[in-house]
């Protein structure tokens, strides 16, 4: 059988055309169309500076950060099927995941290690952007967006830490949120708390935890920030970030 003829038959057919909108032959025209007519690929420009391909230049860290964000979204969604954010069952849900859910342990591990990896990759991405001087005009604003993403990434990981409702997460989050007590004016142990009348029951830490101690309300709040609010905010800023990489002339390169 003539495979070339078959290929032609398929790729010229109505079905193929309706999905792909372009030929498959490799020529400059289709190379452009492949990117332009695909909603996912068109996040990219059609052409990029060659430096964008060099591992030496990008360390691939921005891309890997984004990929890890996607992995976290997928594994996180799967984890949500098995998890209830209440003091009564949260811990048991994790045990259930580890011992009863098929591949539950693998799923949990993937989510946790991807989270750690994302923290590392986002730091390294910042490091490389600095070392190649890529924050300089016209990319200043994208650096600012990046710093917000860095902060948000760490908050995402932090809110996730509590959800296992074990000693590790509980005390890590207790230690972390105790800092908020000391906020000047807004925390009950901070400087000038008397002036604002901040107490353990109305200060900024109370607002974060939904209570004066890390308990059920804190778990629910952490869950909502972790699974809904922060991912949406991060996704939005990533969209701005990528848009700006393009608008600022693509990846930086020596001029």
């Amino acid at each position: 059988m003539d495979t070339d003829a078959l290929k032609k038959e398929i790729t010229k057919g109505q079905l193929w055309r309706s999905v792909m909108r372009h030929d498959v032959e490799d020529n400059p025209r289709t190379r452009v169309l492949k990117v332009m007519s695909n909603v996912f690929l068109h996040l990219h420009p059609v052409r990029i500076p060659r430096f964008g391909l060099y591992l030496k230049h990008t360390w691939c860290m921005g891309g890997l950060t984004f990929f890890l964000f996607l992995v976290l979204t997928v594994t996180g969604t799967l984890l949500m099927f098995y998890y209830h954010p209440t003091k009564e069952v949260a811990y048991a849900d994790i045990k259930y995941l580890e011992f009863d859910v098929p591949f539950g342990m693998l799923l949990r591990n993937m989510h946790r290690w991807s989270a750690h990896a994302m923290i590392i990759s986002v730091w390294l991405h910042m490091y490389r952007v600095f070392m190649t001087g890529s924050y300089k005009p016209p990319r200043e604003f994208n650096w600012v967006v990046g710093v917000l993403l860095l902060t948000l990434t760490m908050l995402l990981s932090f809110t996730g830490y509590l959800l296992t409702d074990d000693q590790l997460g509980f005390w890590a989050v207790t230690v972390g949120t105790n800092m908020a007590r000391a906020t000047p004016l807004l925390g009950h142990e901070g400087p000038f708390a008397e002036l604002t009348g901040a107490s353990p029951y109305n200060d900024i830490r109370f607002a974060m935890l939904g209570g004066s101690v890390v308990a059920g309300n804190a778990l629910l709040r952490a869950y909502i920030w972790h699974c809904i609010a922060l991912p949406l905010i991060v996704a939005m800023f990533i969209a701005v970030h990528f848009w700006r990489v393009r608008k600022d002339g693509g990846i930086s390169a020596p001029q």
Binding site: V35, H44, M110, K136, W143, G176, P184, S252, A253
Partner: protein, 300 residues
């Protein structure tokens, strides 16, 4: 050493070891690329020639399909394999159920905040836990606006931007990465320093008598009015001092006039914040100074 191995091999600490290796590798990469570039420039090559090396006549732009798409695809596959191996080799930790009545010793924040937790040794929580994190975030955000140097955009170099790189490396490698590692590996029960070969003894105590700045240097009680005034004076002098120091040198004055007054003030204040940390660490570790400025409302 057993203790050290125990800490390093804790599943949640493995990423830190990985991070340290990666940071080391990339520091080497960036600096050795910078050295290569600077050398080529010194030999009279243009920026482009120096950065592109022998590929200077390749096309400047390439199509995303297939060049970038295939790279992304490979990177995604490699990362997926890496994550699978990691997830099969190491299990995520799960300790006993949360119990507010049993405080683990040491109680540690998540590893990426341990640099900040380490700063708690030197500053009260309102500074270490609230002011400094905000200064760090804001400080990072303003970098592009206070760096007036147009050179070094899009390539590695050290000679063309020595100041920016030195400050950033100091902040990132010492004040962030190193402190994170210290907070993870050397801080045991009671947040006491343990060397890697020492056992984390929960009953260990360190006899340390701390004094305040004015007591030590002037013999005046830090809580008294005069003591407090001295403390205030030290802080009040620190910021202008750090800002003024560079102006002694010709290069510093050039930098200042290039930046303009607003940029320079922002830069100087941030620098003063950044340097206050190692200074306080020094005072604390070698002279056992606890507070510099004591007031009825807060202590610094």
């Amino acid at each position: 050493m057993d203790q050290f191995w125990l800490i390093i091999s804790k599943p949640d600490n493995v990423p830190i070891v990985l991070m340290l290796l990666l940071v080391g590798f990339f520091t080497w990469l960036a600096l050795s690329e910078a050295r290569k570039f600077d050398k080529a420039r010194a030999e009279g090559k243009t920026v482009k020639e120096a950065a592109y090396g022998d590929e200077a006549d390749y096309p400047e732009r390439v199509t995303v399909w297939p060049f970038l798409v295939r790279e992304e695809f490979l990177a995604a596959i490699a990362m997926t394999i890496f994550l699978f191996i990691w997830s099969m080799a190491l299990d995520a930790p799960l300790e006993e159920m949360a119990n507010p009545n049993v405080t683990p010793n040491p109680s540690k924040a998540p590893w990426y905040f341990l640099g900040l937790q380490e700063i708690l040794v030197y500053f009260d929580p309102w500074i270490a836990g609230v002011i400094l994190p905000n200064v760090i975030v804001v400080g990072l955000m303003v970098i592009p606006y206070i760096d007036p140097n147009p050179k070094g955009s899009g390539y590695y170099t050290f000679r063309e931007r020595p100041l920016a790189i030195t400050i950033f490396l100091f902040g990132f490698l010492i004040l962030w990465v190193l402190l994170t590692a210290i907070g993870t590996f050397t801080r045991g029960p009671g947040w006491i320093w343990f060397w890697p070969w020492q056992y984390w003894d929960t009953h260990a105590v360190v006899a340390e008598t701390n004094v305040d700045f004015s007591d030590l240097f002037f013999g005046i009680s830090s809580g008294s009015f005069t003591g407090s005034l001295i403390g205030f004076a030290v802080i009040a002098i620190w910021f202008p001092l750090i800002m003024a120091l560079p102006l002694i040198f010709r290069k510093g004055r050039e930098l200042a006039s290039e930046m303009g007054i607003v940029r320079y003030l922002v830069f100087g204040n941030l620098l003063a914040f950044m340097l206050a940390l190692p200074l306080k660490m020094f005072l604390r570790i070698f002279l056992h100074v606890k507070y510099i400025w004591v007031t009825p409302w807060f202590n610094v």
